[in-house]
């Protein structure tokens, strides 16, 4: 049995267990208030789901058994069967049998005798159908009389097909059990015996599922508590470091770290659960676009935090639709290019040191860089001469700007100018990153680099003006120590060279506290080396001058609360071992602010 099959089997069993349990509860409720239509509806719905699931998995026995129960409840639902005590005995027995049948899936030795109960259910349902007509007959309306006369007229052609079928079934049932007049006696002696022995065998055995379903909210809460515990641990260790030997805290450290990782582990789910839903998305999008697309899924067993997967799911759908809408060409175009007629969309996930990487790869025409340039110039975002100097990467990053769309035709899939910026925002919100690679005529790859857990962030700590700050490692490229002469002043801006790239550099203190004495003016006069943290976001690079570089640290980030929750340059805070508050700087916001500002300056310069 393949891995996936086994997984589905497990899933089915756990779901079926839950279903049966719910059935038991509902049946008990129904016994107390037999007239409650809602309960009957719920039971009917559960039976229907169970039947469908079982049939889908190929568990015919369960499916048929569930079908018999469903049939019976369909009769009850239409109030054709009077609910009486006797019926409940049968129903409870049926649910028990169903439970055993589900158990037998995971235990081969279990030999469940179910035919007797099933037969009984069928008989009750059949009898009800048979009894239906006499119930209708007494109605003194003309219609009823008419019907009666018709049926008495020995199946003339005017008899509705349904009725005819019913009568046929009736006849069959009569043939089956012609010796019996009451439903109870409709079973063979053997079957009855079977029921009794089954009842005696294990009347009081309660079964427990091996899985526990937990609301995500509870997991979130657990994770928060663990985060606070870690902060508190670090604080304790720092305060007592001097007085107590270091080993004293070793086991505390180990246990709390293990606890943290265990909690994080519980929250991990396989990306396959999300990926498998995309077959339909691809199919629908391809049909709308009148294109042929094959979806290939790789690395579906890669694990990622459940909340992250939820947050990015819409983004993934968008990227997939985009790939089909913009990337993959029509069949005629593809054959003309010498490509296979059917486009290929690959969705793959893998673990890397920086986290989980999800690639959405198509073998379409690639992103048209010239088209983007034209659009950008048209929108007046950047001066044309400036555009020419920009790298391909920089130009592609424009697709993530709000209000950008190259597709002129607006349809339900793409071209509305909303989307890519939303995708970008969603990825940013989990501290991830998105990269685009494209080759004309060969296709494009959108890579989402995501943290595997939201609980801890790997950060670099540094100091500015006696306060400590943290910058997430996902945004940092390099750390440089520069001489004054390595920094160029162009107009009023500071530029540095790094790997043949000219990068704008700002003093973090001047950016954060512009009303104060500028540390830049001071630094430009002195001969001390500058500590620069190179960060990147959306293809744009920026150097941040800081006072002192400290260490790398995994932190638990907390959001800023009211009344200061409007601060944009800071994404959150954490408490350091010394009890002081450390600000986590928000690179996307800072980069966007600075670069939008310069774009605006350019725009006004043109005007």
């Amino acid at each position: 049995m393949s891995n996936k099959e086994q997984e589905y089997r497990k899933l089915f069993i756990s779901e079926a267990d839950a279903n049966v349990e719910e059935l038991e509860t509902l049946l008990t409720q129904l016994e107390k208030s037999p007239a409650d239509q809602k309960t009957i509806d719920s039971i009917f719905r559960i039976m229907h789901t169970l039947k469908g699931n079982a049939a889908g998995m190929g568990f015919e026995v369960i499916s048929k058994f569930a079908h018999a129960l469903e049939d019976l409840f369909s009769e009850i639902k239409q109030s054709k069967i009077q609910i009486e005590e006797e019926l409940f005995t049968t129903l409870f027995k049926a649910v028990d049998t169903l439970k055993e049948l589900v158990q037998s899936l995971s235990d081969d030795k279990l030999n469940v005798r179910y035919r007797g109960v099933q037969r009984k259910l069928e008989v009750i349902a059949e009898n009800s159908r048979k009894a239906e007509k006499p119930q209708v007959e007494p109605t003194p309306t003309k219609k009823g009389v008419a019907k009666k006369s018709v049926s008495k007229a020995k199946k003339s052609s005017t008899v509705p097909e349904k009725e005819e079928k019913q009568q046929l079934e009736e006849l069959q049932a009569q043939v089956h059990q012609h010796q019996a007049k009451q439903p109870k006696k409709a079973m063979t002696l053997e079957e009855e015996k079977e029921m009794i022995t089954a009842e005696e065998k294990d009347a009081k055995k309660i079964s427990f599922s091996d899985m526990v379903q937990v609301p995500v909210e509870k997991l979130d809460n657990l994770l928060n508590l663990v985060g606070e515990l870690i902060i508190e641990r670090d604080r304790l260790i720092t305060t007592h470091e001097a007085s107590v030997s270091r080993n004293e805290f070793n086991s505390l450290k180990r246990v709390s770290s293990d606890l943290q990782y265990s909690v994080m582990d519980v929250r991990l789910v396989q990306v396959g659960f999300l990926f498998n839903k995309f077959h339909r998305v691809v199919r629908d999008a391809a049909t709308t676009e009148k294109k042929q697309v094959d979806l290939v899924i790789e690395g579906s067993e890669t694990e990622i935090d459940r909340n992250i997967l939820q947050i990015i799911s819409d983004s993934l759908i968008h990227l997939i639709r985009n790939a089909i809408g913009h990337g993959i060409e029509s069949e005629a175009d593809r054959t003309g290019e010498g490509k296979e007629a059917i486009g290929k969309l690959t969705l793959s996930a893998r673990n890397e040191s920086e986290g989980v990487v999800i690639d959405i790869k198509d073998d379409g025409k690639g992103i048209d860089v010239e088209k983007i340039k034209k659009k950008v110039a048209q929108k007046g975002w950047v001066e044309t001469s400036f555009l020419e100097k920009m790298s391909q990467e920089e130009i592609i990053s424009f697709i993530f700007e709000p209000g950008f769309s190259t597709n002129d035709a607006v349809n339900s899939i793409s071209g509305r100018g909303v989307g890519m910026d939303v995708v970008k925002k969603a990825i940013d919100s989990v501290g991830g990153n998105i990269k685009v690679q494209t080759e004309a005529g060969k296709g494009s790859v959108f890579s989402l680099i995501l943290p595997s857990s939201m609980a801890v962030k790997s950060t670099l700590l540094f100091e500015v003006g006696h306060s400590q700050y943290a910058v997430p490692l996902t945004y940092t490229d390099a750390v440089l120590s520069l001489e004054r002469k390595e920094v160029y002043k162009i107009q009023n801006r500071l530029m540095i060279n790094h790997q043949d790239q000219t990068i704008e550099t700002v003093f973090l203190k001047d950016l954060f506290f512009p009303e104060e004495f500028s540390s830049r003016t001071e630094a430009l006069k002195s001969n001390e080396k500058w500590n620069v943290v190179l960060v990147h976001y959306n293809g744009k690079k920026l150097g941040l001058v800081v006072d002192k570089l400290l260490q790398q640290k995994e932190i638990v980030e907390k959001p800023l609360k009211k009344p200061v929750d409007f601060v944009r340059y800071v994404s959150g805070v954490t408490i350091l071992g010394n009890g002081k508050v450390c600000l986590v700087i928000n690179i996307p916001q800072i980069v966007q602010k600075l670069f939008n500002h310069s774009v605006n300056v350019n725009a006004t310069a043109v005007a």
Binding site: E228, I231, E232, G465, S467, Q468, L511, F512, F513, P514, E515, K558, L560, K561, K562, P563, V564, F566, V567, R568, Y569, V570, V573, I575, G579, K580, V581, C582, L583, H597
Partner: protein, 171 residues
């Protein structure tokens, strides 16, 4: 009815407990229910994009809260000296929790409800600052200003200043 009610109030004298602290030369008061605790001022980490009177955020018993200097906000600061702000009053409402810097340990004071004058009776002319004043308590030789502390840090208040900051920053 009316008379009975009045008598009730008189008998009761509806006492109110205030926390009184000094800002500049004046005494200010808050209802004791708004105050969660008073702690020695912890280390404060400055926050960018906030007006100067928001001193930053501090860790008070594991909670990270914003700390404000009302002397600076009300323009009562005489000299640039933060050294004297030894205590932090932690105030709390349903939505907001924040710290207010004070120089000395605040006192408690019992006053009768009748001693608190509604601010509407005192100040008629508009102007932003008055809206933080909820009332005035007059004792023999003292005058205590009752503050609506959460209004001083309301969103529009902070954002207004924040936007001004942004403008100067861009220039």
């Amino acid at each position: 009815m009316e008379a009975v009610k009045e008598q009730g109030i008189k008998e009761n004298q509806q006492k109110s407990q205030l926390i009184v602290f000094r800002l500049g030369d004046e005494e200010y008061g808050l209802q004791i229910g708004q105050i969660k605790e008073v702690v020695p001022t912890p280390h404060i980490t400055r926050l960018p994009q906030t007006p100067a009177y928001v001193k930053g955020v501090a860790n008070i018993r594991g909670n990270i809260i914003a700390v404000v200097d009302l002397e600076e906000k009300f323009g009562l600061k005489q000299e640039e000296d933060d050294s004297a702000n030894n205590y932090t009053l932690v105030v709390e409402s349903d939505e907001v929790k924040m710290g207010v810097l004070v120089r000395e340990l605040p006192n408690t004071l019992n006053v009768k409800q009748s001693q608190i004058e509604d601010s509407a009776n005192i100040i008629q002319d508009g102007g932003a600052d008055q809206s933080y004043i909820k009332g005035i308590v007059k004792l023999d030789d003292r005058l205590i200003i009752m503050l609506d502390i959460f209004k001083t840090m309301s969103e529009s208040e902070l954002n207004g200043v924040f936007k001004n900051n942004k403008v100067t920053e861009n220039v």
